[in-house]
Symmetry: C2
Subunit: 331 residues, 2 copies
């Protein structure tokens, strides 16, 4: 195996977030389920946007947030995702490249616009997301460069990729290349409803293709259709090399073979916006894993990055993650 060009290469839905603060009543008026991600079509996106208050546009996309975070820690990183050749596509490309991530997926020159996620943040800091996938439906196997995948220690993919049909093929192609090259494959389950949509495929994938799994409590319980966290933990044990299970303020639990590590969350003064918490947890964890940290230290790096991102609006880190990690004696 040649030396790696990237610590982590991520594949995901390339999305610009459109964030706005709302009262809880807005969610019920517009039939939006709180705290989760729903897929919407263009008409619904237009109608919801028209009803929303003033917004802020920030690059997002679950996998892209993770990869930008890996680069923020000082890791080498690449990203594959599909935008359109429009202004929001340029914004997305600028922002991820500006963090030092290698991003070369050609934008679509026709078809739907760059994807956007209408993120409604309620006073409790919870975010409810309505995603119009737009150009993401054009991500295909042709966008997977075998040389790039083989050059990454870990190929990381978001579960949301299973929503656009062609992207799923891209996902499977990338996983096969990574494994063929002796590299590792990592999956984030993304969201309990995403798990609902693709439960059997995910379970099979985790057994056969995934080395490192990220899931929060609701997602892992949904995957194995169990009601307790411990049952979920026992169910996932042995299915993949490492499972990193996050539990919001209760921290995270890492399961790897016979090892189990329970790691506390990093406290924040005020939770402003939980968007990106899971994404940034994965950033810290994957950075640690590719830089010789033990599993507990990986989890602490994850918690550190998650704490940073929930203390402000937006799902990309604002602080210098490398400096934070150094201050916490984690690198």
């Amino acid at each position: 195996m040649t030396s790696a060009k990237y610590n982590v290469l991520g594949i995901g839905n390339a999305i610009v977030d459109v964030l706005s603060r709302v009262e809880d009543s807005f969610l019920s008026q517009h039939d939006i389920a709180k705290g989760i991600m729903q897929l919407i079509d263009e008409d619904r996106a237009d109608a919801l946007y028209a009803a929303m208050g003033p917004a802020v546009e920030i690059s997002g996309g679950s996998g892209a947030n993770t990869i930008a975070g890996v680069a923020g820690f000082g890791g080498t990183a690449a990203y594959i995702g599909k935008v359109r050749d429009d202004q929001l596509g340029e914004v997305f490309a600028h922002d991820i490249c500006a963090t030092g991530v290698s991003f070369n997926t050609p934008p679509a020159d026709d078809g739907p616009a760059t994807a956007r996620c209408l993120v409604l943040v309620t006073p409790d800091g919870q975010r409810s997301m309505s995603t119009y996938l737009g150009a993401c439906v054009h991500l295909s196997s042709r966008d997977i460069e075998p040389g790039e995948i083989a050059a990454a220690e870990i190929t990381y993919m978001e579960g949301y990729l299973w929503d656009p049909p062609e992207a799923k093929q891209a996902f499977l192609k990338a996983a096969a290349i990574a494994r063929g090259a002796g590299r590792q494959v990592s999956l984030s389950l993304s969201d309990p409803f995403c798990v609902d949509r693709h439960r059997d495929s995910f379970a099979e994938l985790i057994e056969n293709e995934v080395d490192i799994l990220f899931a929060n409590e609701d997602e892992i319980k949904s995957l194995y259709q169990v009601s307790g966290f411990d049952d979920a933990l026992q169910a996932v044990r042995g299915k993949c090399h490492i499972a990193a299970l996050t539990r919001s303020a209760a921290g995270s639990v890492i399961v790897s073979g016979d090892e189990v590590h329970v790691v506390e969350a990093v406290r924040v003064d005020k939770v402003v916006d939980t968007t990106g918490a899971g994404d940034l947890y994965a950033s810290g964890f994957l950075y640690g894993l590719t830089h010789g940290s033990d599993l507990a230290a990986c989890a602490r790096l994850g918690s550190l990055a998650a704490a940073e991102v929930i203390s402000h609006i937006g799902a990309r880190s604002e602080a210098n993650l490398r400096n934070l990690a150094q201050s916490a004696d984690l690198v």
Copy 2:
């Protein structure tokens, strides 16, 4: 005079801000003068954007920020400004309409893209702005609807409008209509370098057309080419009905005929980003003026809104200005 449909109608350069945090060294490396606004062409905008870190897109434009703030206080407001029919133009239109402002200027369907302002925020909270005027150069007299101007108690215009040549004509047309309808005309000097570019025109305009003038200390000193604030204050006295002169943390001074009011600034815990301070001061002042407040109370409303906007990133208020004003017993 018929009853007014709007408290305030604003005319300005319709701009989307692209905000990014930088160290001071970035400004010197890229030859950017700190704390002011510079006009740049498209090539320079592209080059600077490529060099900048990840950014956040938020609707801006000095006059638009003011008008959004008037609506935020609960005032009736309209805005005239030119965007292109592109994604950032849609963002601008959405955000200003979502605050309750009437905005009906047709977007340009060819020519340059919607204007953007690259706002670089240094660790001290100061903002240095590089503006590519884009579609704003197409604002013209044809965009001034006489009925709308005549229906506004105050027509408010930003000095920056004198930069694009056709917009200047629109500005003069609007001022003439407002005065002809027995309404008031208000001008913000925008920026000391903007004053430098248009000093004689501004001085003449203030004497002949302007009822309510907004200027900060640097701008009013530049206008009259004096070195002391008191000299500037004496120079402006009598030139227009009301001059509201802002002095950052030192508060503001209102001059009207023989009256002079010195009003303290509202303290903020931490200045995060000074973008929009002057714009929001004008919001509060104009809201007060159209709702029967005395001049000192107008200035306090202005200070309240300015304090809110400098306590977070972006030049549009995040908090509910009406609630803030009620808590402060100002409405």
